[in-house]
Symmetry: D2
Subunit: 137 residues, 4 copies
């Protein structure tokens, strides 16, 4: 059951990742949804959202879903992330990232994230990521 609510997670992101403009949309059982508003700084030539932007949003979605479950553990770090690019994202739609945690272990958490251009049914990318969780007191 989530230990933190949307507002607490948003506050943590604002403080800990001031450079990120990701908005926490919702949290659910072992899951979270975040939104990245897209502007021209996120685009690459050809008029599509750049790959690193998608990876960054997926990484934060996973981080939010994890913190919602285990509480604020600022030292949790990504150990690996694998992304498959599926379709060209729309240049003028927000990116929505839905994360579902697959495992929350003592040392490692694994989750998958599906990314969409807002309003479209087919995913633009799919991510699996692992976080290392530092020992808790």
């Amino acid at each position: 059951m989530p230990q933190l609510n949307v507002q607490q997670l948003q506050d943590f992101l604002r403080t800990d990742f001031p450079q990120s403009s990701v908005v926490v949309e919702s949290i659910s059982e072992r899951g979270a949804c975040v939104r990245q508003t897209i502007n021209t700084s996120h685009l690459r030539p050809g008029g599509t959202v750049s790959g690193p932007v998608l990876m960054a949003v997926a990484d934060i979605a996973m981080y939010v879903a994890l913190l919602a479950e285990i509480g604020i553990v600022p030292l949790a770090v990504t150990t690996n992330l694998s992304i498959h690019f599926l379709r060209k994202p729309s240049a003028d739609k927000d990116i929505l990232a839905h994360c579902q945690l697959l495992k929350i272990g003592k040392n490692l958490a694994v989750g998958e994230v599906t990314l969409y251009s807002d309003g479209y049914e087919d995913a633009v990318a799919h991510v699996v990521a692992t976080y290392a969780i530092p020992p808790r007191a």
Copy 2:
């Protein structure tokens, strides 16, 4: 919409992969479920299903889901496969593999597969794989 039914896919597997004992359980919209009965030849020391067995079952689940959609294309080959091991599988339960295709492109198909020990709710492993589809006449 699937082009082939369970029996047609099972027949193809029997002919094309005579060494595999995987059974096609069901097909669905862009998805498939297959079952691997586990015997001692699938176990590794410690009494758990070996990693390569899980990878093999996932690979076939993806192949079945893909063929169900595009028809029998025997030359489709895996180009990459990434597996995360989540929990120790039970030594005396079948492995069930649920595949959902994420993309069916002209040249590439991407799918994810979640693997379970039959009767358990938590997944034992998660796979994302890419297949290259040969040009069709």
Copy 3:
């Protein structure tokens, strides 16, 4: 044998990726090395280079290595990228990315990229990526 030299690749990057400040250091047989000067915009809290920056540099290293071999093919796109984070990068050192192509096929190219903080012997991250190559006339 590379078809393009360092200057030609740098010119292409400047035109096609004006937002990137990556510098092409060298090209070699099926390989390339690029450098990203790090400033505070690349850091995340804790004083380390952010993951998405490492992914972006690796992606460009692979793109440069590929274009050096096959010539300017602006439509080549990443289909998947997997990164393992190995050590915390230094906040005040450039990132160097060494790419070696593992396969240059007709439709797909695969490469690995090892990333370093300049001056350190141990890698900070390791990437494997696949590019889809559009049909050539």
Copy 4:
């Protein structure tokens, strides 16, 4: 510096993985090379070495390289493995797997493995894998 020699590692494999016929060829600084003799049980239709066989050999190569460095830790388990298939392996050549460890941490080790058909210069597959290392007394 390796803590175990080839014979000690081979003896451990024989005892702990009696089903595997992998032979330890050599160990080096943070690396190992193993050989899998190929017979018809390793082939798939089309006369090529099956993907799960390549994954299994890579997994053992990584395990051997890790044990050589940290000593016999039988509970080390693979947490994720990502394989890219590069070329069709020869049906009548041994598979050689060269592993190089990229990181040996307290809890996690990461390595890459390049697989060859014996006698050929171009790799048939490339693997990156992570092992979880249980706490040591």
